[in-house]
């Protein structure tokens, strides 16, 4: 664990305007950095994600957004700096984090029913058999029903995942992530290739969760507009550094031009943000596990 430094106690630190009454951060990254071979994805990252906050992570392909998610899940140790999730090593916290991946299918989805996916969120990690002809105990079954109800997926609870639409599947995925009552929700482009209506439905589920339960949300996305009115903080990862702040500060022509090192125009049209220049550039090619990932997602984007 390269990222392991002496345990950092959540609390005030230099330069951090810790307003009294603000809750301790659920995720705290201090001077974090990640390197693949001789290429540095990002460095000097300071994050304090507090309960109930909605963070959007933006940036072009290959800027390390998915790697950041992997780091937060403890799947990839930081090269520099330190990271505490729920006050502990991220690998130990992983089980208490809700994770919503990009929508996708597996061969098993022809067979596996929606309610099973939610069930995995509850007990799928346990080794050994559960005995009994009805499978899970009554308490677990009720919990699964309640979760499916909460995300509006009861109607297709017993349908194989493969027969659901992308939007329906993502509802079930959010149910799976919420089944364990997580304090942090990590969403890696959960609305990718969904139509506007379903994007809205999925983001509303996530928003309701953080408002009702104070769950912190880290939401990786390519498209800020569907979540623009929900976002508290934006982390923009780019080839020439990164920027953190409220959307109206980060998403400006000046700040993005600096991040890309070229002219980028940010226009505000009827409450939406249009970025001209930034996405025209080719995705940065780099070796490493993320390269394949970036290629895969390229095709799905207009």
């Amino acid at each position: 664990m390269t990222g392991e430094t002496p345990p950092s106690v959540p609390g005030p630190r230099a330069g951090d305007a810790d307003v009294p009454g603000r809750q301790a951060p659920l995720i705290r990254m201090t001077n974090g950095g990640l390197r693949y071979g001789d290429r540095i994805l990002w460095k000097g990252l300071d994050l304090d994600v507090r309960p109930g906050e909605f963070w959007a992570v933006l940036g072009p392909n290959g800027s390390g957004k998915s790697s950041l998610v992997q780091a937060l899940l403890g799947r990839r140790p930081l090269t520099f700096g330190s990271l505490r999730v729920l006050g502990a090593d991220p690998r130990r916290a992983a089980r208490h984090i809700g994770y919503v991946p990009q929508q996708g299918t597996a061969p098993a989805h022809d067979v596996v029913r929606a309610r099973e996916l939610v069930g995995y969120g509850l007990d799928g990690h346990r080794f050994g058999l559960r005995l009994g002809l009805r499978g899970r105990g009554a308490a677990t079954r009720h919990r699964i029903d309640a979760v499916l109800e909460a995300v509006g997926a009861s109607a297709y609870a017993n349908a194989p995942l493969g027969t659901l639409s992308g939007g329906e599947r993502q509802r079930v995925r959010i149910g799976q992530a919420l089944a364990t009552d997580p304090r942090v929700l990590l969403c890696d482009e959960p609305t990718l290739s969904l139509d506007l209506h379903h994007q809205r439905a999925v983001t509303e589920l996530i928003d309701r969760r953080r408002r009702d339960h104070g769950t912190a949300v880290v939401f990786v996305t390519h498209e800020i507009n569907p979540v623009l009115d929900l976002v508290d903080q934006v982390l923009y990862l780019a080839p020439h550094g990164h920027r953190i702040g409220p959307p109206e500060e980060v998403l400006t022509s000046r700040s993005l031009s600096a991040l890309y090192g070229s002219r980028v125009d940010v226009l505000r049209v009827r409450g939406r943000i249009v970025v001209v220049g930034a996405h025209d550039q080719q995705p940065v090619h780099h070796p490493g596990p993320d390269a394949e990932h970036a290629r895969e997602t390229d095709g799905a984007r207009p």
């Binding site: 899940l73 403890g74 799947r75 690998r91 992983a94 089980r95 984090i97 994770y99 991946p101 996708g104 597996a106 061969p107 098993a108 989805h109 022809d110 067979v111 596996v112 029913r113 099973e116 996916l117 069930g119 995995y120 969120g121 007990d123 799928g124 990690h125 346990r126 080794f127 050994g128 058999l129 559960r130 002809l133 009805r134 499978g135 109607a155 017993n158 349908a159 194989p160 995942l161 027969t163 995925r173 799976q176 992530a177 990590l186």
Partner: protein, 299 residues
Amino acid sequence: MMTAAGTWQQIFDFQDYGALLGLVRNSLIVGGVLGLVGGLTGVFVVLRDLPFAVHGISELSFAGASAALLLGVNVVAGSIAGSLVAALAIGALGARARDRNSAIGVLMPFGLGLGVLFLALYKGRSANKFGLLTGQIVAIDDPRTGWMLAVSALVLVVLAAIWRPLTFASADPQVAEARGLPVRGLSVAFMLVLGLAIALSVQVVGALLVLSLVVTPAAAASRVTGSPVLLPLLSVLFAVLATEGGILLALGSSVPISPYVTTISFLFYAVCRLIGARRARHRRTAPAVPGVGGEVVRA
């Protein structure tokens, strides 16, 4: 007509059936246990989309068994060795489906070729050779029964231990990994279990027909249920009925056991597929929400 009846007579002869049953006691026990092993591993073969891998592993298992036959050592041990090598190679060579399939396509003829070479060099009874490809369970001796039961027990214990996380990792690898499950380790563990199950099945139905025991029953069950309890139960039931039915039918006939096993399991699949298709049609015509869109307007 005469010839048809004659052929029938030639295939089936149920005289002295009772006396014969005593002789195949071992086979019946092994057949039942193999049904259990094949039915359960098959569930994951279906979930993980591995039927082609099963075929590839069984060819190397055949090569191992024929090498053992040639060298005059334990045939079950030989086929297990071949299976495990193949399972590990396939697991290591291809993590992604596309890589995996070409790796199997490369390994399979290589294994079959080796097997043919060993059998060509073997000077013993030719029935032994044919049996490895197409099956022979009738008259399994006591030591061989012991071997097979012990390996089956090992497979069942490991499967029981990793059942839930393996299901999670098979159906939802990304989230399973995010939750800290050793997805890769589980995959390797399953390939080893699968290798053992295939080596055992080769003893019954032969290398060419292993799929009928390790894939068909689970594929049939998956057509009619997605329940995590019913799916393995049905799969095991189909596999056990196919092996035991095959043994009992083969006993009164001159044909080897494998055509019975393959035909019975194929019939289960055909019926389940029909039931599944009918249900899917029902689902599509039924209104998603009661009372909305349920009325059909006729012109």
